[in-house]
Point group: C2
């Protein structure tokens, strides 16, 4: 998506080690108009899948997941990283290694809101190694749901996430696909 690529080029900061800082429009400050445009585009690409629920991970997945779900007319569930007191004792929990955090994080969903028979569309901000998204896939499958599609705002194709998700045989869509961040230069796939 052209306008997302342009924002990455104009405002994204390549911090080295494959870390892309997009804190001015995705990860700390959010541009709601851009998120709405991205949500509309995801809805267009995924509308034929018959999804019944959008699943994401807190925190940065929430904005694009909410706008996507708004355009599809679906509820969103965001996996929590800490169990809140309002959640029942029996939860769905999986562990996902976080590259940028340098540690393993918990992804927790209440079975109240992810039940068997759902058709789950996963939306997140980044597709890098794919470990967070694979964690969400495990939660959905453990609940007895079917993952029908995966969308990410930004893919770093050189981190292998798409390969890690290939065996699911579902459509994977990224709105900006970065093929290289070497020598401080951000290059796109297309």
């Amino acid at each position: 998506m052209k306008n997302l690529q342009e924002r990455i080029l104009s405002e994204g900061a390549n911090l080295g080690n494959g870390i892309l800082k997009v804190d001015s429009f995705v990860n700390h400050q959010v541009d709601p108009m851009l998120m709405d445009t991205c949500g509309k585009e995801f809805a267009r690409r995924f509308k034929s899948l018959g999804a019944t629920k959008v699943l994401t991970a807190e925190i940065s997945g929430i904005a694009p997941a909410v706008t996507t779900a708004l355009h599809l007319g679906l509820p969103v569930v965001y996996a929590r990283k800490h169990k809140p007191i309002t959640m029942p004792d029996q939860v769905l929990l999986t562990l996902a290694p976080s590259h940028t955090k340098g540690r393993t994080v918990e992804l927790i969903v209440s079975p109240e809101y992810l039940a068997g028979g759902e058709r789950v569309l996963i939306i997140d901000d980044f597709l890098a190694s794919g470990q967070t998204i694979l964690g969400l896939v495990r939660l959905a499958q453990t609940a007895g749901s079917t993952v029908v599609g995966i969308g990410a705002l930004i893919e770093k194709t050189f981190e292998g996430g798409r390969d890690a998700l290939k065996s699911l045989e579902v459509p994977i869509q990224a709105l900006a696909r970065i093929s290289s961040m070497e020598d401080g230069v951000i290059e796109f796939e297309d």
Copy 2:
């Protein structure tokens, strides 16, 4: 707002000790259509304030803040509770006691995205004791910005938050105002 009140009555769970569980449409599962309606209503109520930025706290404030900002055409900043690696070393940080967490949480904003001269509209999911919102107010004021309005989806009027914020002399709007949760019954102000 009638439809928010109705959702609270039909799906909210009164867990006792003033804890209202609205995990099926605000805090874990999100109803994006309801959030969009709430955002539109906040935008209508606050549109004359000349706000230049919406400020909220992760995690549950993000959805209503994003939809409000979308309808106002403004960027959103969400205060982080843990400093990510993409944030500079020099940050704006304040501490806020969290009633539902039973401990103090950090609220962190990068000065890159909250600078002097902004007119800040604070949006959050709950107005209870007002401590989280007061923390956001301190961050905005430390940055040299002016808080021009405060909005919450749900106010628990019996926890005194509105009084705690009174000295700011800014409009405070809540879309559903709960006056009592005693004996397991949820009562609204209006």
